[in-house]
């Protein structure tokens, strides 16, 4: 196989990963690393470096649309980015000290959890909220557009959300993923924000979080241009197509099938990490 054939293969795989990632809501990044390492035999450090830049591309692309629609809360995002960026730098520095086997096992576990979390039914919080003094001082309360009128919400448990975001940042820097699943837990579960606000603000934050670790990965020589080029271009096109399909078709059974495939990939990552074959 020469570089042209390899590049095409990576491009097509990344396109599919971006498509599935956007349909399942997992994000393309968390799916492309197992594909690159398990199916194409790429070293996990190169795979993580290439994935990280594709994460920045997809999240910034999607965030551009959401921000303009007024769903993302820029102040909440900016405040929590302190936690995610410090976490991401910590994670990226940790990545150099942990064996690739251990990284692979952690990756598999996070992938399993994300697949489980994204398949759960989404329930919207109802009833009014008590304004939290800290959140009010930080100007985190806001409103988001609904079909009839803007709906107000207020944030709670800022310290818990902040700590969870630090964890999300570490995972992002260590594994080269957006860790959207953990970010949504922090905002949806802990801080009591509406689901739509959590997901779009999380997406908005992913680019900055990934950029915080990408600098370190670049400086360490983990980002290979020949590999990152097809990964980035593939994931971006794939997630654009996925977002189109998502608005047009019923995706229940598709999500189920993909959830199963992702579960198998996660178990294989853990197995390979344990047996030291990565």
């Amino acid at each position: 196989m020469n570089i042209i054939e390899f590049t095409l293969l990576v491009w097509v795989s990344s396109l599919l990963a971006g498509f599935v990632g956007s349909l399942t809501g997992l994000g393309g990044g968390i799916i492309i690393t197992p594909v690159l390492t398990l199916a194409l035999g790429v070293d996990i450090r190169y795979a993580i470096g290439a994935t990280l830049v594709s994460v920045i591309a997809t999240s910034s692309g999607a965030a551009a649309a959401y921000v303009r629609e007024g769903f993302s809360n820029i102040r909440i995002g900016m405040f929590l980015e302190i936690a995610t960026t410090v976490g991401a730098v910590t994670g990226a520095l940790l990545a150099a000290r942990i064996s690739t086997g251990a990284i692979s096992i952690i990756f598999g576990l996070v992938l399993l959890y994300s697949a489980y979390a994204s398949s759960r039914p989404r329930r919207e919080r109802v009833g009014d909220c008590q304004p939290d003094p800290l959140a009010t001082r930080l100007k985190m309360n806001g409103s988001y557009p609904t079909s009839d009128e803007p709906k107000a919400y207020c944030a709670q448990a800022v310290p818990t959300g902040f700590s969870l975001m630090f964890g999300a940042g570490i995972l992002s820097g260590l594994l080269g993923i957006g860790s959207g699943a953990v970010k949504v837990i922090a905002m949806d579960q802990a801080m009591g924000l509406p689901f739509k606000v959590s997901t779009t603000t999380s997406n908005f934050m992913i680019g900055v979080t990934a950029a915080a670790s990408a600098g370190i990965y670049l400086g360490r020589g983990y980002i290979d241009p020949g590999l990152a080029m097809p990964v980035m271009l593939g994931v971006v096109v794939g997630s654009l197509v996925g977002a189109r399909v998502l608005t047009r078709t019923k995706t229940r059974w598709l999500r189920l099938v993909f959830g199963l495939v992702i579960g198998i990939m996660a178990i294989e990552m853990i197995y390979h990490g344990l047996t030291g074959r990565l």
Binding site: F6, G41, S60, G215
Partner: protein, 129 residues
Amino acid sequence: MVKQTRQWPDQYVDELIGNLLRVGVTLAAAVVLFGGTVYLFRHGLAAPHYHIFVGEPADLRSVSGIVRDALALRGRGLIQLGLLLLIATPVARVAFSVAAFAVQRDRLYVVVALIVLAVLMYSLMGGRV
């Protein structure tokens, strides 16, 4: 209603941030695509080597080295420049937020955005203490 008076500027800032992100990603993707074409045209028939980790050469690790390689129209340097533009897009977004919060006289969030910007710059310098 304090909220009402701030409504317009916030929405305007959202609009600008949306445009900034879109332009950044599009520009980065175009440079990566161009660099990729040059790279495949010149080295497409060689064998890939990604199963063994060796790390990138020094000139593809630093901002100055990448710019030098890209100006010499080397494929890998051009791709890396595109990736650098991509990494710079969220950084530019945060820098813009510092200015936007300053215009809105929101001192607290000027400080918050500056902290995030400092962490990003630290990382881009290679994470050295």
